[in-house]
Amino acid sequence: MPILTVDALDARHGLLHAVRGVSFAVEEGETLALVGANGAGKTTLLRCIAGAHRASGGRVMFDGTDVTHLPAHRRVQCGIALVPEGRRLFAGMTVEENLRVAAGRGRPGTWTVERIVEAFPQLGPKLQARAGDLSGGQQQAAAIARALMTNPRLLLLDEVSLGLSPIAVDAVYASLQGLLGGGATVVLVEQDLARALRVADRVLCMLEGRVVYEGRAQETTREQVMAAYFGLREAVA
């Protein structure tokens, strides 16, 4: 049974119909990459799964429970954690405080500040620094770490490489590698197609709120996704 099932999900963003009847499922331990042009509805979709955006129709099932109407903080207790676009750390608090404030709110689990520092060595020397003073890459690591502190069963990552230098992106993904390989269930939004295809088991491409391509990453070529990306019909079939 899939751990996450999204069923005919609809969401609006003001006047914009951002997500239109999206359905897909994620198996436990799987990494799914969401790709698509800006404004395709990827972020809104992730936020709907996390409960940060209200769905206007459809269902979100998590581990057999309907969570569609649960507020975000309740979904964290179920085991869903979103690393939001733009990182959104508590800039005035220290990195350690950012981690500790998230501790013990989700499910019981094994993540501690010490284990975080093992997984994200770049955070070790920065624990007492103000989160707002970190570099972009460090902030991204801290944002992921903060989400991990809730011991999620499903981790949603929104544009972790946005605004980072290539080196910083590599560092973030290097830290993620352990997670992705270690059986975590992850849905990530990634602009860099090549990287998405490399890290994910499956790829889902969105266009104007709809899913226009879905396939196993290994069997998917860059060209196929690019075609779906720009809405070329023949590629979808």
């Binding site: 996390a50 409960g51 940060a52 975000a72 903080h73 964290v76 608090m93 404030v101 903060r146």
Partner: protein
């Protein structure tokens, strides 16, 4: 030397202002709401304490133990019934709703208690008038010293609570970004309700000292709100120790004004407040926003 005494009294008066101001400042820091009913709620607490002392015969100190949790519940209700809904209405609604609430509270108190002024001074025995003479001209009242001590304990305690405890971190995180805390499992509404309850507990302490050190009536709330606000602006919005400094500056200004002529007591305070405002506008250009920081 009489002038020096005025300065000393100003410091103690300032400690009272800091006590009144800290809950206003705290609530603003957490929810970005300026609670226009703040003064009225302080006065409500004073009346609750007075009733407990007058009717139930409880000592004011014992009454505080009863009144603080009771007012915390009032705070919780205030958030759930008024502030929560107001916040969703945008910038203006919290101001309008809390102002409406202030009018309702003031007039309900008037309806119940009439225009008579009241004081808790008769219920605290020697404390209300005992004092120590430092020199021939300078005397400090025991109650004043107690207020200063309590102000330091409350402000320091709040500071420690916010920076050292888990709940304090939760409140700070929510204050920084209420739309993100849900993603790490924090219910922002519950945090807001808790913060309002804490603010009302502190307002009750302020109400107790308002009632002990002077007289009050149902319409005293407006003045308390203004003093609290001036204190917070002079001290810098959001900074807790700044609040104490702001209160002391205000208290000293008022006492120096009164030293010149009794009619200048309030005027001097208002002028210092406006002076600080003008100075800030000129120094920081367009924005006061950088000055109002977090609750910590």
């Amino acid at each position: 030397m009489i002038f020096l005494n005025q300065l000393v009294q100003g410091v103690f008066l300032g400690a009272y202002y800091a006590l009144v101001a800290c809950s206003l400042s705290f609530l603003f820091g957490v929810m970005r709401i300026v609670n226009l009913a703040h003064g009225s709620l302080v006065v409500l607490a004073a009346f609750v304490l007075f009733e407990l002392a007058d009717r139930a015969g409880l000592s004011p100190w014992l009454s505080l133990i009863v009144a603080i949790p009771a007012m915390a519940v009032v705070g919780w209700l205030l958030q759930r019934l008024v502030l929560d809904r107001s916040l969703r209405g945008g910038m203006l609604v919290p101001l309008l709703s809390t102002f409406g609430l202030a009018i309702v509270l003031d007039n309900l108190l008037f309806q119940r208690f009439g225009a008579d002024t009241r004081s808790l001074a008769p219920y605290i025995g020697d404390l209300s008038f005992d004092s120590w003479s430092l020199t021939d001209d300078i005397t400090v009242g025991r109650l004043d010293v107690l207020i200063l001590a309590v102000a330091i304990v409350v402000l320091g305690g709040l500071q420690t609570f916010l920076s050292r405890t888990r709940l304090g971190r939760t409140i700070r995180a929510t204050a920084e970004d209420p739309s993100v805390v849900g993603l790490i499992g924090i219910d922002a509404r519950a945090v807001y309700a808790l913060a309002t309850a804490i603010a009302m507990a502190m307002a009750t302490v302020a109400g107790a000292f308002l009632a002990m050190r002077t007289t009050f009536d149902p319409y005293s709330g407006g003045a308390q709100l203004i003093f609290a606000f001036e204190t917070v602006v002079i001290g810098g919005f959001g900074s807790l120790w700044g609040t104490l400094a702001g209160g002391i500056v205000l208290g000293i200004a008022q006492n120096i004004g009164a030293f010149i002529s009794p009619r200048f007591f309030l005027i001097a305070g208002h002028l210092v407040f406006l002076g600080v405002l003008v100075a800030r506008v000129w120094l920081s250009g367009l924005n006061l926003r950088r000055l109002r920081v977090r609750a910590a």
